[in-house]
Amino acid sequence: MTQTESSPGSSPEGAISGAELRLENVVKRYPGQKAAAVESLSLTIPAGEIVAFVGPSGCGKTTSLKMINRLIEPTSGTIRLDGEDIRSESATSLRRKIGYVIQGGSLFPHMTVATNVAVVPKMLGWDSKRIATRVDELLDLVGLDPDRYRDRYPRELSGGQQQRVGVARGLAADPPVLLMDEPFGAVDPITRQRLQDELISIQRELRKTIVCVTHDIDEAIKLGDRILILQEGAKIAQYDTPDTILAAPANDFVADFVGAGSSLKQLSLTRVRSLDLGQPTTAHVGEDTGPVVRRAEEAGDDSVVVLDDRDRPVAWPWLRQVRHNDRVQSTPRELLVTLDQAATLNDALDTMLTSAHSKVIVTGDRDRYLGVVDFESVTEHMRRTERDAAQQMQDAGGHEAVDADG
């Protein structure tokens, strides 16, 4: 339960900085209500994983989540963080090591972005230089240019930007656990998908233990290493990996909840990174356009992906636009829609529909450019999985169905 000092930039990728969470027979009964909101929940959330809580409205997701940071005290039962009962310390000191992110970011409107992010570090008594460095580092991590955004007030940000700051604030003191309650519920679908991608990308670097409440099964499938599907009274309907839940729903409730068309659901299970990425011509901002145009013509490309000094894609002009200028131009990075490598094929198709190129740029950690995915490679992948699935069905005969019921 020590506060790790390492910054996200310096922590080796893959090192788990999260802590295990265990709920043991946790019950919550609100006064004056017949049925318990949470009947008896037992569950282990492994360190460094994202677990998505899904279920119908009122099933007890938020209640379960808030018991973890003691915003709600359980009627009975025990919750352990890293093996230790969370009641063994004061609620305030517990909460300072559990990031908390709720819908819309819930930023304090009277504080600047930097002050919002600095709330917990300040309470922990960090010196101001360390806080300032940390704030910039976090804004960068969530894809906001610190120089541009640090001194803005929340009302000067878009919904998606506010949500990003909310995530940065939750991660500020490098807590081992992050709790999120419908974090991306208040933004439009395209922004939501971007935010999800960013969260996955951040998690790849940080490996926190993240509990994310959502009522969107697609979001759960995309984000969750595991999914907890809850029924009325927070009864566990199924707790497993997305693949298993899709392939073998434990009961009718889960099957209904996950929905039909599971071959379409494959679209939300497959990540862009599992496709072969195209490698069109790239250029860096400020380069002479002459050689760039020549390279593109040789490769037969009609557009060029422009990268900044940190290899992040910033523009995607057509070749004829490049020819207009002597040097390669940039545009504000926010204007270019890209996909994280963890985005699903579903997201990729969505994004292509709105892109002038019918292709999408794919990025990795810290928005670094990886390549381009096009429509053909997605459909090709779909056809292949369908063929494989049909093949497997034939090989396995009827066994599959029997197993799933048992």
């Binding site: 909460r95 709720i102 819930s106 304090f108 009277h110 917990v120 309470m123 007030y153």
Partner: protein, 213 residues
């Protein structure tokens, strides 16, 4: 008229300062009391109707009546004047503070708690700054109202410009009666306008740019 002012210039300025000083001190104490009461009301919501009733009824008590009630307790003098002004000054601030606190988005409060803020920090760093624009508006109203009430306080020999008005009234028909009344009234208006400008300035400085209208 100008001769009248010229002869008494220093004294008038002194009284104007006294007047402003009385209002400043009374409103300061009133703000502290009102905000403290509003915190209690916000914590124990059952108090809400009580607070509303008090601030509504309180304002209907004629100030002379209050002075009359206070006199046997506190004697003639500055203390009575101060208590009287502070009492009325509290009421608009209390009403605004209760409303201001109630308007703060509860999810922000929960978010603050969820991040590990102590109850005191939640109050000082979240609730108060967010309610402050509304409270400040109440303080501004209160300052204006107190200017008039402080004039009446002169009746109990408190400091300020009110004395001129009463002198004027008691000498009605005399040579300087109108001069006295005019100096008192116009003096109060000038002090009030200056005070209001200062209040605006205070708002500029203390209300966060992020929530300013």
């Amino acid at each position: 008229m100008w001769d009248f002012i010229g002869e008494r210039g220093d004294l008038i300025a002194f009284n104007a300062l006294q007047h402003a000083n009385l209002v400043l001190q009374a409103v300061l104490v009133a703000t502290l009391v009102a905000v403290a009461l509003a915190v209690l009301v916000n914590r124990f919501r059952v108090l809400d109707p009580i607070a509303n009733t008090i601030s509504a009824i309180g304002l209907t008590i004629p100030s002379f009546a209050l002075v009359g009630l206070l006199l046997p307790l506190t004697m003639i003098g500055a203390t009575t004047a101060f208590i009287c002004v502070a009492f009325y000054a509290t009421l608009p601030i209390l009403r605004n503070a209760v409303v201001g606190f109630a308007q703060v988005d509860e999810t922000l409060i929960e978010s603050a708690r969820g991040m590990g803020m102590s109850e005191a920090s939640v109050l000082l760093r979240v609730r108060l700054p967010l309610a402050w624009p509304v409270i400040h508006a109440g303080v501004r109203t209160s300052v204006q109202m107190s200017m008039g009430i402080a004039a009446i306080a002169a009746y109990v020999l408190g400091p300020g410009l009110g004395g001129y008005i009463f002198t004027g009234l008691s000498q009605a028909g005399g040579v300087n009666a109108v001069n006295y009344a005019l100096v008192g009234t116009v003096g109060i208006v000038i002090v009030a306008v200056i005070a209001d400008l200062l209040m605006l300035l205070l708002g500029r400085v203390t209300i966060s740019k992020g929530i300013r209208a």
